[in-house]
């Protein structure tokens, strides 16, 4: 079996194949529901309803999408430059820690303090990714494993902080940190709705990243380095400097997810702040084909699947892990479908 490139793929191919990938995911969902002993149509219906069937559901989805937009952007930016940032989880927690540390006590000027906290969070996330990237450029150490291992280290660090120095004396049982000051919580996006400004910042971030990628010199260089570092170096592009800049942006974006979850949603730091947003960000980014604006849509989709599955599980009993299976499958199906849009399978 061989693969042959197609010069001008038809519109049918370019849109049909991804649609097929989505359809395959739906079929897989039905099969899993059957295996779990539930009615497939009812299950799918409950998922949809749980994701967007009521105002409550919709807000829940938007809230869940917010950190995913940030981590999705972080991964998309990095992967574009072929920087395999699997450590968004650690960068997220770095941002969360900084948010609590600098947000515990209010200086009385929230309009000034919040942006400063956000900036510090970004710096913290950037630093966490900078380590592995310097190991890559200076020592040739593959960043996949180093970023991954740092996730575990960071989680242990968070565990230490919330059980020790940052422990909330008023908290009962489950260890969590001291809360962020009341006036430093992110305000509601729309009066009366349970949606905080984190979502707004995420949308702005998506647009900014898109502008950087398509309209700036840095974005051009990131794409060049990602596709052919040898040619980029020959053409005079400072490859290592571009990788560092990419790392700073990517780590900072992931940290904003932590900032948003702490200052916007939870109000404090705990070990279970992130149910794997860093890893899910990879799915979000790949489903969006690394396009920053697409990340918003794909984050909404992924969040909807999770929220819907939670709700469905309470009603129908199918384990919530069905969502994780579906999203992992959709990732693999989509990557396969995209590669076949401009390549044809040829049998000898």
């Amino acid at each position: 079996m061989r693969l042959e490139p197609i010069a001008n793929p038809s519109a049918l191919r370019r849109f049909g194949l991804p649609a097929l990938a989505l359809a395959a995911t739906v079929i897989a969902a039905s099969l899993l529901a059957l295996i779990a002993g539930a009615d497939p149509f009812a299950t799918l219906g409950l998922i949809l309803e749980g994701a967007a069937g009521s105002r409550f559901a919709l807000l829940e989805t938007l809230n869940r999408a917010t950190p995913l937009i940030f981590t999705g952007l972080a991964v998309a930016v990095a992967f574009r430059a072929k920087l395999w940032n699997i450590g968004a989880e650690a960068q997220l927690y770095a941002g969360a820690i900084v948010t609590v540390v600098f947000g515990m006590t209010s200086w009385g000027v929230a309009w000034l303090q919040l942006p400063i906290i956000a900036a510090l969070a970004v710096a913290a996330g950037a630093l966490v990714l900078l380590g592995p990237v310097i190991l890559k450029t200076r020592f040739g150490v593959d960043e996949v494993v180093t970023t991954l291992l740092l996730n575990f280290v960071m989680l242990l660090f968070v565990s230490y902080l919330v059980e020790g120095p940052m422990k909330d004396p008023a908290g009962m049982g489950w260890p969590k940190s001291v809360p962020v000051a009341k006036d430093l919580r992110l305000p509601r996006l729309i009066e009366g709705l349970r949606l905080h400004w984190g979502f707004g910042i995420a949308l702005i971030a998506a647009v900014l990243v898109w502008l950087i990628e398509t309209r700036t010199v840095l974005g051009y260089r990131m794409r060049a380095v990602g596709q052919n570092p040898q040619a980029a170096r020959f053409a005079g592009i400072p490859v290592n400097r571009v990788l560092v800049q990419t790392a700073l942006i990517s780590g900072g974006l992931a940290a904003l997810a932590g900032f948003s979850e702490v200052a916007g949603l939870k109000g404090h730091l705990s070990r279970d702040l992130s149910p794997g947003f860093g890893y899910t960000g990879i799915i979000v980014a790949m489903l969006a084909l690394l396009n920053p604006l697409g990340v918003v849509l794909s984050a909404l989709f992924v969040a909807g699947v999770f929220v819907g599955a939670d709700s469905m599980s309470r009603a129908a009993g199918v384990p919530t892990y069905i969502a994780d299976i579906l999203l992992a499958l959709s990732l693999l199906f989509m990557v396969l479908a995209i590669s076949l849009t401009h390549r044809r399978v040829v049998w000898r």
Binding site: V217, G219, N228, G236
Partner: protein
């Protein structure tokens, strides 16, 4: 009395998309025969041999080897039938030893042992018999190009090949190594083997082949015994008419725009560094570097490109020394235009559009960007200008460059380099893999740039090209540069001596 026929290709056709690479080709080979397969780049010679060896499946036609039909598309079957091939780009694993490379695939995958000892004995015996000296336990990565070729031939002989195909074998050899290869081939032929020999070097073909088959645009246009033809006749068949060897006027030398003074760079595995190389590039002149690849050309090209800095010695731009931190960006701002050796790996980014490739070196400067923001309209205009001026055949500036043919890709690179009006131009194998039309075009552009006052450094493994275009020739051998040899004074024989290392001992 003629020998038995060992191989027959009958009406082979092979198409790649719109390109008919092999058009109804037939070929017969007898035992003990040496047949040369001639043609310009893109004529279809390598395609035909890849069909024979099973790496492509023909669209039409049959192959019969030793009286048995050969199943198509099956290298295993070809090897079993006694056909061995030495590819133009060697298929060797650098980290494995010579013995391991030879043994690869020769024993059943279910077998429990490699039996290295017996293999070593057999390899040494074959090497002695055919004059292919090599150390069986050496890592292939540490071998020279000539030695690697010997390993490739041993691979085929170890598998009892009775038909050996060699694809452009002398492209990477010095004249002396080529003679050693021919001695090996004669021994093989005396032993009853048959050889198919792809080449475009007519002198060698006349010396070694019994018969010449000429391909042009995928068709067979000639099948003659060597005794009944001449290099000029063969060239005419290859090109389809009278061969023009245009007389290139000598360039007028101006001031030295770039100089290397006793520059030395460290060796890398398989690629020697420069050894006290001295070179002067003058405006209005083409300086040619002759020599087989792997003798330090990469090191020289890296110095000029900004990818490496001298470890000792000086690099001078005009009168002033180059900055201590010498980078590709630095080379570009110093006015060095670079045409890299590999347009796919280093020259272009395959999935970028022509516009994006056109500004690969200039994107950080006005008018293509201002304060970090790209001006894509200006970039597209620039790409359009290059496409028009340099006749780049393409769907448009927003097409991905991977869709272009090699020649058109090279024209874009050429346009990108020349439009920046560089003072020094590094042309590294600028016409490798291009068809005749593209070759003539590129040469014309380089000469025009020279006449406008640029200093051109031409690195090429094609001695004819170097001798035809250069005003001054240096020979490169194991990292050392010969003194400059002015055109007319340097004959092929003399250059061959320098390439073999003669003359360096006296000059030093």
């Amino acid at each position: 009395m003629s020998q038995p026929e060992v191989l027959r290709l009958d009406r082979i056709s092979k198409r790649f998309g719109a390109l008919l690479a092999n058009d109804d080709l037939s070929l017969a080979l007898r035992a003990g025969e040496v047949v040369a397969l001639l043609g310009e780049n893109g004529a279809g010679k390598t395609t035909l041999m890849n069909v024979l060896f099973g790496q492509y499946v023909a669209d039409g036609g049959t192959i019969t080897a030793f009286g048995q039909p050969l199943p198509p598309g099956n290298p295993r079957a070809a090897l079993a039938a006694g056909i061995g091939m030495v590819h133009q780009h060697f298929t060797l694993a650098d980290h494995l030893t010579v013995l391991e490379n030879i043994l690869l695939g020769t024993r059943s995958l279910w077998s429990l042992s490699l039996d290295l000892r017996a293999a070593r004995v057999r390899v040494v015996a074959l090497a002695d018999q055919f004059g292919l000296a090599v150390d069986p336990d050496a890592r292939v990565g540490s071998l020279s190009v000539g030695e690697r070729q010997r390993v490739e031939i041993l691979k085929a002989l170890y598998r009892d090949a009775r038909i050996l195909i060699l694809d452009e074998p002398t492209a990477v050899l010095t004249p002396q190594e080529a003679d050693a290869l021919f001695a090996t081939l004669r021994k093989m032929v005396a032993d009853g083997l048959s050889v198919i020999f792809i080449s475009h070097k007519l002198h060698e073909v006349m010396a070694i082949a019994d018969r010449c088959l000429v391909l042009r645009h995928g068709k067979m246009v000639g099948d003659v015994a060597t005794g009944h033809t001449s290099p000029d006749a063969l060239a005419a068949m290859m090109v389809g008419g009278e061969v023009q060897r245009p007389k290139v006027a000598v360039g007028v030398a101006g001031p030295a725009l770039m100089r290397l003074e006793a520059v030395t760079t460290p060796d890398r595995e398989g690629a020697p560094g420069l050894k006290a190389a001295t070179l002067s590039l003058h405006a209005g002149q083409i300086t040619g570097i002759a020599g087989v690849s792997g003798n330090g050309q990469a090191a020289l090209s890296d110095i000029l490109s900004g990818l490496a800095a001298p470890a000792s010695g000086r690099l001078l731009l005009g009168e002033a020394p180059a900055p201590a931190r010498w980078t590709p960006a630095g080379a570009l701002s110093a006015g060095v235009g670079r045409i890299p050796e590999d347009r796919h790996k280093t020259g272009t980014i395959a999935d970028f559009t022509l516009t994006e490739n056109a500004v690969l070196e200039t994107h950080a400067r006005a008018p293509f960007s201002r304060r970090g923001w790209m001006d894509w309209r200006a970039a597209a205009d620039h790409a359009r200008a290059i496409i028009t001026k340099y006749d780049v055949r393409c769907p448009g500036p927003e097409a991905r460059i991977r869709l272009l043919s090699g020649g058109n890709m090279q024209k874009l690179i050429l346009g990108r380099v020349l439009e920046a009006a560089p003072g020094v131009i590094l042309a590294n194998q600028p016409v490798r893999g291009l068809d005749i039309g593209a070759i003539a075009y590129v040469h014309g552009q380089l000469l025009a740039a020279r006449d406008r006052g640029a200093a051109v450094l031409l690195i090429s493994e094609d001695l004819d090209e170097v001798m035809q275009l250069s005003d001054v020739i240096h020979v490169m051998s194991e990292g050392r540069l010969s003194p400059p040899l002015p055109r007319g004074a340097a004959t092929m024989a003399e250059l061959g001596l320098w390439m073999a290392g003669e003359g360096f001992d006296h000059a030093a």
